[in-house]
Each structure stands twice: as structure tokens, then as C-alpha cells.
């Protein structure tokens, strides 16, 4: 249980880090600290607080939080390595560690190379994968996952498990939804790092029309993100509808579904406000981190949809040794 709580802390810290990264981009502070891994020649952790002014506040804070998250993931990986009996969960820890190290190096490279779009977009995309890994570890170390959400016993429960285990349609639509959210985030990162965030200045219309009357690269990227939002919202609604219609009694599916609905509503609102506010840096950054939360929630729902198939109807646990 302690490991699960720690994994939750790591996942929450990673979300905070993504918000801090959003602030760096939104305030245009990415190059306010020109060196890396040092900060104006200082070792990162000894940089004087009184010098954290202007854009340095955002960039250096991002680096400090990233260092903290990196350290937490190191501890998490070691903890899993030493106490987790499931090899595949231990491997998740190693992958998370490798991903966060790679992420740090990408962050340094993008500074030293003056924020090339490709590297910055890769940095944004890998951040989401690191978050997904920490969310996954937190999920699979949870007591609920380890007992396969078997809160009740008896024939009714077994029937419910069998219904879910046989529901390949839910697994398919949840997987597609999660993948679509990730693609949408990458398109958003591309829009963000290529400066196309206000290429279409009005909302919900595009230059007063449904389809932009003129096309440029930035307009195309921006419009693709809007179309992506419609696709993702449709897929999310389909997933939620399926869960509520077929598996309403399963709390482990119903709760993330409802949370997903709320988060998508917030995210669409934040997206609109980002445009209407002229990319206010707080709104813009909240849009970034809410995107991560949408992805993480959809991932949890997807993994839980697979859980019944992994355990099989009637079986309570596949990893008794890990159950705390």
C-alpha cells in the first residue's frame, strides 16, 4: 500500500512538472537560462533564489521540479526492483527511469540547440509518456488492481467479470480513445512549439466560418488540433456511453468514465479560453496539464478494461505476492 501511495505521489509530481513545463513555453522562457545542466554557471541546486527573476523563475523552477521528479522516479524504480514480485511491473519502473533520464537530456538539448521544433515537440511528447508510466505504476500497485476489483463474491460478481472479460468492444474503443488523445496532444504540442496557437484567432469559428477560408501551415496545424478535439470528444463520449450502458455497476470503470467526461469538458473550455484570451499563460498551461490528466484517466480506464481479461472470471488475484 505504501508503494502505491508513493507511486501516486510520483504521478502527481509528474503532472505538476508538466504544468511547470507549460508555464515555460507559455511565458517564452525556454531560453532564459542559456546553459545546461548548469544555471548561469551555478550547479543547479545552488543557484541563488534572488536571481530567479523574469523568465528564469519559470525555467529554473521547471528544472528544479524535474530534478525532484527524476529523484522520485529513481526511488520508485529501486523500490519496485527490491520489493515488487511481478517482473513486468519491475520492468515498468526501469522503463520509467529510462524515460525520465531521456526526458531530462531532451530538455537540455532543446535549450542548447535553441529550441528546435522537433526536439521541443519530442520533449513534450515524452513528458506525456513518463506521466503515463507513473500513472500505470500507481494503478498496478493499487490494492484494487491486485485483487482484480473483486469487491464482492458470488455468481453475480462472476457474471459481471465474465461480461467485462468478454467485452472486446470496450477494450478496443478505450484503447483507440487513449491513442487518439495522445495523438491529439502531439498535434497540440506541434501547434504550440511552432507558434500556431493563435493562427486561427476566433472560436468556435475559424475566421468566422466553419472551415478556414485560407490555408497556411500554422492554420492547418491549428485546425487539425480543433478537429482532433472533436474526434477525441466523440471517442470519449462513446467510451463513457459504453461503460455506463454495459458496466454501470463496476465502480472501477464508472468512476474514471465520469472523471474523463468532466476533464474533457474542462479541457475543451480551456482550449477555447486559450484562444479567446490571446494565450494567457496560466490558461494555456492549465490546458497542457489538463490534457495530461485526460490522457492519464483514459489510460486508467483502458487498463482496467483489460484487467478482467488478464485475471479471468472468478479469479481474485494473479499476483498474490504483491498484494499488500
Amino acid at each position: 500500500m505504501l508503494l502505491h501511495l508513493f507511486a501516486l505521489l510520483v504521478a502527481a509530481s509528474t503532472a505538476l512538472l508538466i504544468f511547470a513545463g507549460g508555464l515555460v513555453t507559455s511565458t517564452g522562457s525556454g531560453l532564459s537560462v542559456p546553459d545546461w545542466p548548469t544555471t548561469y554557471g551555478w550547479f543547479m541546486l545552488t543557484f541563488p533564489l534572488e536571481k530567479m527573476v523574469g523568465g528564469i523563475f519559470y525555467e529554473h523552477s521547471h528544472r528544479l521540479i524535474a530534478s525532484g521528479v527524476g529523484a522520485l522516479i529513481v526511488v520508485l524504480a529501486i523500490w519496485l526492483w527490491t520489493s515488487e514480485p511481478r517482473a513486468w511491473v519491475r520492468r515498468l519502473g526501469y522503463v520509467a527511469l529510462g524515460a525520465v533520464v531521456t526526458q531530462g537530456i531532451l530538455g537540455g538539448i532543446t535549450v542548447l540547440w535553441f529550441l528546435p521544433d522537433a526536439v521541443s515537440i519530442a520533449h513534450a511528447g515524452l513528458a506525456q509518456l513518463v506521466f503515463c508510466l507513473t500513472v500505470s505504476i500507481a494503478l498496478v500497485t493499487s490494492p484494487g488492481w491486485q485483487r482484480a476489483y473483486a469487491d464482492r463474491e458470488g455468481p453475480r460478481r462472476r457474471n459481471l467479470d465474465k461480461t467485462l472479460a468478454d467485452d472486446s468492444r470496450l477494450r478496443a474503443i478505450a484503447t483507440v480513445t487513449t491513442a487518439a488523445i495522445y495523438v491529439q496532444i502531439i498535434v497540440g504540442a506541434t501547434m504550440r512549439h511552432t507558434g500556431a496557437g493563435l493562427a486561427i484567432p476566433d472560436f468556435p469559428w475559424a475566421f468566422g466560418r466553419l472551415i478556414p477560408p485560407v490555408w497556411t501551415g500554422p492554420i492547418a496545424i491549428h485546425f487539425a488540433h480543433r478537429v482532433g478535439a472533436v474526434i477525441v470528444t466523440t471517442l470519449v463520449l462513446a467510451t463513457i456511453g459504453h461503460v455506463l450502458y454495459h458496466h454501470r455497476s463496476r465502480g472501477e470503470l464508472r468512476r474514471p468514465s465520469l472523471l474523463l467526461a468532466a476533464l474533457v469538458a474542462i479541457q475543451v473550455t480551456l482550449g477555447a479560453l486559450t484562444v479567446l484570451s490571446g494565450k494567457h499563460y496560466i490558461i494555456n498551461s492549465l490546458h497542457v496539464v489538463t490534457g495530461a490528466l485526460v490522457l492519464g484517466t483514459s489510460l486508467v480506464l483502458t487498463l482496467r478494461a483489460y484487467r478482467a481479461r488478464l485475471v479471468g472470471p472468478g479469479e481474485q488475484t494473479i499476483c498474490t505476492g504483491a498484494a499488500a
Binding site: 511565458t27 531560453l31 545542466p37 548548469t38 554557471g41 527573476v53 523574469g54 528564469i56 540547440w113
Partner: protein, 260 residues
């Protein structure tokens, strides 16, 4: 800690070299070079006995934009020097005189090559502003960048034809020099710490450039007789060109007029 980030050695420098080497191999570029391929002449090719001048003034027609102000409260050290300061992007004075217009010979010098001044031009950071806001320099000439502020700055030159650089100056009094190897009008400078700080540097392969003063005047002296394309560049108002012909020892006055 070594104070001058430009001179820092050790692991960071090693990493920087590795990164630059990888970047160079990936992009097909070479390491930062600051010198022209062949040495510049030491003597001017222009006959002073026949040289002429082009002078003039840049004016604004119509109602000039209302002067803006920039807030500097992102850094308490800057606030100490004034909570706000004038926005330098358009400075229109008496009689519509426009300051900070870069005027230069865009075309007409043929293959003439000119000596590179040994004295550097100075770009200072003072009052959390670049001083001057617009300046010119010859390719190969040193630009000395100074931090006269009680706070730290990063000096970020977003060059396209030349090598982009971004270097920190964490302490007051720090300075470093850079050179641009090829012509580029203009190279934007910015400080990412203080988002309002920017400057423009025009890099040319000849000495015939000027920046208009508060009265909008400029002067290009010592030009050989000939026909020239003169361009006036302003950071927000755009560019204008004129063709001007001068004879031996002739001086001509021209006027550029920008409109809202």
C-alpha cells in the same frame, strides 16, 4: 563557480563541444566562425578625393502611434531603475522625426571590399534595456556586449545567416565579444529573462550604414561616385528603398517617409 560563463571550462564545456559537434554533423554546418574566408583589406578602396555623401532624414506622416510603456516588474532589480520605461519599438519625435531607423547601402558597391574596423562596437545592457536599441556593425568586426545592470541577463542573438548564440551574463560588469561572419539585416537580439528587452544589429560587408538620431537624421559619408540603392529599415514600420546617384565630391539629401 567561474563567473564568466563564456570562459567556463570543465564538464559543461565538454558537453557543449559534444553537442555542437553533433549539431554540426547533423546540420551540415561548421563550428562557429567569425572571420571571412579571405582577409579583409587594410586600406579603403575609396578615393577620398572623389568621395561623396548621402544624408537625409526619416519622417513619419500622419498621426504617430501613441508611445507605449513596458512594465519591468518581472525583476525587482529593474524596478529599482523605474517601474516602467518607454516602448522603443516606435519612437517619433518633433516634426515626425523617427529614431532608430537603420539606413544603409543595400546595393551599388559592386565587388569593393573594405577594411574591418579594429575597434569594437558596444552593445550595453543598462536600465534593463539594450543600449543602443539599433546599431550597425561590419562583418568580422567585434561586438562587445556589456552588462551594466545590477541583475543578470541572457544575450540571445537570433541570427539566421550567422551563428545564433545565447549566452548568460549573471553578474554586473561582465562582458564578452562576438563577431558576425556575414551580411545580415537585421539580427534580432533579445533577453529571455526580461521579455521586453530587444535590440537589432545590422551586419554589413561595408561601412556605409547609419542609425537615425532623435531628430530623424542620418549620414552616409565617403561613398565613391555611383548609383546606390539606399534602404531604410524600421523594426515595426518596415522598409523603404530609394535609388540615389552621386557624382564626384557630390552630396545629396534624401528623405524617407513612413506612414501609419
Amino acid at each position: 563557480m567561474r563567473l564568466d560563463t563564456a570562459d567556463r571550462k570543465g564538464p559543461r564545456r565538454m558537453l557543449g563541444l559534444i553537442v555542437m559537434a553533433v549539431a554540426a554533423s547533423a546540420c551540415g554546418g561548421g563550428p562557429e566562425s567569425s572571420a571571412p574566408a579571405t582577409p579583409a583589406p587594410t586600406v579603403s578602396p575609396v578615393n577620398a578625393e572623389t568621395a561623396g555623401n548621402i544624408a537625409g532624414r526619416i519622417t513619419f506622416e500622419g498621426t504617430p502611434p501613441k508611445p507605449g510603456v513596458v512594465r519591468m516588474d518581472a525583476d525587482p532589480n529593474c524596478v529599482q531603475q523605474g517601474a516602467t520605461s518607454p516602448d522603443e519599438s516606435v519612437l517619433v519625435g518633433d516634426g515626425g522625426a523617427i529614431q532608430n531607423v537603420f539606413v544603409y547601402v543595400k546595393d551599388g558597391l559592386g565587388n569593393l571590399r573594405f577594411p574591418v574596423p579594429s575597434a569594437p562596437v558596444v552593445l550595453d545592457q543598462k536600465g534593463c534595456h539594450y543600449v543602443p536599441h539599433v546599431l550597425g556593425v561590419q562583418a568580422g568586426q567585434s561586438v562587445e556586449i556589456v552588462n551594466s545592470d545590477p541583475t543578470l541577463h541572457n544575450v540571445h542573438a537570433l541570427a539566421k545567416a550567422n551563428q545564433e548564440f545565447n549566452q548568460g551574463q549573471p553578474l554586473p560588469g561582465m562582458k564578452f565579444t562576438r563577431q558576425f561572419s556575414t551580411r545580415e539585416v537585421m539580427v534580432p537580439f533579445k533577453c529571455d529573462v526580461h521579455s521586453w528587452m530587444n535590440a537589432w544589429v545590422g551586419v554589413l560587408d561595408h561601412p556605409y550604414f547609419a542609425v537615425t538620431a532623435a531628430d530623424g537624421s542620418f549620414s552616409l559619408k565617403g561613398l565613391p561616385p555611383g548609383t546606390y540603392t539606399i534602404e531604410a529599415w524600421h523594426e515595426t514600420l518596415g522598409t523603404q528603398t530609394q535609388s540615389v546617384t552621386i557624382g564626384e565630391k557630390e552630396s545629396k539629401d534624401i528623405v524617407f517617409t513612413f506612414k501609419a
